[in-house]
Assembly symmetry: C2
Homo-oligomer: 386 residues x 2
């Protein structure tokens, strides 16, 4: 096990009606609140009104219209609002995009320069305005971690940044908020959660048993509960386990002590940067193809673990047959969840594959991934996704 | 899943040589340090000298001789030292006993009255001096949670107290510090970890799938690595996984969202309060007997999960046979780890069973346990342990 620092310090308030704690939580930080949210679904499902009612005694300024792949222009707009209104705390209500945007707004507020600098260079992040979140989508884990991903569409860049100071102070997770999600968002969110776990599971470090057991358990939760949530959107047990799994998948529990870079995420970031597709959909398409591409004598034993401990497949003599069964199961699972499983279905062709492969290798440090990939490898994986 | 708050905010610095961060960590809180430790093993294994060397620029006052079941008199002594020397931060170096003692010293420092009050009534705990720990035993999980257990030998009381403010700010976990542990401490520590997980696993709440998968994975880690650590004390992989499992077992991951009281812990607290035995040994003796006592049609399905997912036993038609196989495996495992598995071996007879049963039911709220127990039940379980 590699040395690591684990510091998932977010106060997680989980369950029905936890929003009632919002005034007490915000009061710790101040009276002036930046309310950050996305396209307005929180106005339809009543959360927006509930917040307004609860925060009568606070001064609220709104940053709305945060994009599914949040853009640097929106971050800059948020920073201006914070400065203009002396904001004390940012309340992000939404999924990972909204929370990621809020984090970088909070960091850029204290940065003397353009906000894109701290995306391109996380080391420039120092102090951050306190972030409080109300989660409305189980997916990115941003509600309990230090990561944020921001897009710059004019240069086709989508980059991840991170800081221990960007971790939300408090996150409110009410599984009932997931009841009204469109099915594709439930499915894409599940794919995102599973990808986080899989990226951490397939690493060169082989002795992090505890982390791997957490990973297997969380994957089993996704496999068990996503189909239930899709069939029965108001199933509390399914929503609660998916929501908790999203936070646990990427708060350090599955990745701490395991070195190396991720693979599918940096490649997917290229897809989103060029085509603005849903992150989880891109990951679902890439993951099984990447698995097939890297399956070899060197990786087979990990795939056998994955087959037996995650997909509950029967051990058999032919390890490769078993591994392929597990990869098929992965692909079939995403398909059954209703995710379009080819890039062609999304209208994406080879046009930008070369540039995307180059950028993914560079930004994703794919030379240090579980199986090192060069541009040609990434190109081939993208071709397999067509 | 029940509503819950999860807040495991300790900064965990895990791995070889992490102690080098100690000056930077302590400096955040101040210059005046109460160094709390137990019987002096840290002087033998070099940690004490290392600390002195690292903290040349700090003012250190020592609280030594903290007992394996830490006593209220020692807490009071610590509070006096803190007041006398204007202590800014408590550095607890040891296992759960030392850390528990440090927590209550830190809380009692700000309490206007006798320290026992805040043990008997956790609601009286408010502010707490910052606690930093260096863990030298994988067992109680105290390094990452809000709990502390303190004994008052004159009245045969051993009570747990808790406060969100008692959670350590930083814990340093170097698996190499476990290399020199006596075998019985490794084994008893493992029994303690497993008991924490088992107490949380066997609860009335049945829909906390994620938590239960974490529990199963952590139990598997204990079962895999404790025998390795006993055979090969300097096996880093085994020590690292055990050490990380100890923190994960009782930081909220396995218990959040699952209601109800624990069982074996309150009964064991009586054994320790009357006979000052090693906590983990008492738990190892009690756990399989308690399991046999509560096995019934109402609990059988959980035992089947336990048999298959934890002990990797083959499913079979006769559920009770399978459950008993798992309970046998539990008992045999502790025995194989070298733990004395009867109270008689510890020189304990029935003399105090009646008083202990009465007190366990009362202090442990055993009416709200997984299977409600009354005094007669506890008496019978204790008898099974003879």
């Amino acid at each position: 096990m590699d040395n690591f620092k684990f510091h998932a310090y977010t106060e997680m308030l989980f369950g029905k009606g936890q929003i009632s704690n919002l005034p007490e939580v915000l009061k710790r930080h101040g009276k002036n609140v930046l309310l950050a949210y996305g396209g307005g679904s929180i106005k339809k499902n009543g959360i927006y009104d509930n917040i307004q009612e609860l925060l009568k005694d606070f001064n609220i300024v709104e940053l709305s219209g945060i994009e599914p792949n949040p853009r640097i222009e929106t971050v800059r707009r948020g920073v201006e609002l914070c400065k203009e209104h002396n904001v004390d705390v940012i309340l992000a209500v939404g999924g990972g995009s909204t929370i990621d945007c809020a984090k970088v707004v909070g960091a850029a507020y204290y940065y003397d320069g353009d906000a894109w600098d701290i995306v391109a260079n996380p080391a420039k992040i120092d102090k951050v305005l306190p972030i409080v979140t109300i989660l409305t989508l189980a997916a990115t884990g941003s509600e309990m971690n230090k990561n944020a991903v921001i897009s710059k569409m004019d240069t086709n860049e989508k980059l991840g940044t991170a800081s221990w100071n960007m971790i939300p102070q408090t996150s409110i997770l009410d599984p009932e908020y997931l009841y009204t999600l469109p099915a594709i968002q439930t499915a894409a969110g599940c794919a995102d959660i599973m990808s986080h776990i899989i990226e951490n599971y397939f690493k060169k470090t082989t002795d992090a048993f505890v982390q791997d057991k957490f990973a297997e358990g969380l994957l089993q939760a996704c496999i068990k509960y996503c189909p239930i949530a899709l069939k029965d959107p108001k199933n509390y047990e399914a929503r609660a386990n998916m929501m908790w799994a999203s936070s646990m998948a990427l708060n350090g529990l599955t990745g701490s002590g395991k070195a190396g870079a991720w693979t599918c995420h940096p490649i997917e970031h290229e897809l989103s940067a060029y085509y603005d597709i849903t992150h989880g959909v891109g990951l679902a398409i890439l993951t099984p193809r990447w698995m097939r591409y890297i399956l070899s004598d060197a990786t087979i034993d990990k795939f056998v673990d994955y087959a037996i401990n995650v997909w509950d497949l029967e051990p058999k003599g032919d390890k490769f047959a078993l591994a392929n069964e597990a990869i098929d199961a992965t692909e079939d699972f995403f398909k059954a969840c209703g995710i379009p499983m080819t890039l062609s279905e999304l209208g994406i062709d080879k046009t930008n594959f070369e540039a995307m492969a180059k950028s993914a290798v560079e930004h994703g440090a794919l030379a240090y991934a579980y199986v090192a990939l060069n541009e040609e490898d990434v190109y081939k994986i993208l071709e397999m996704c067509l």
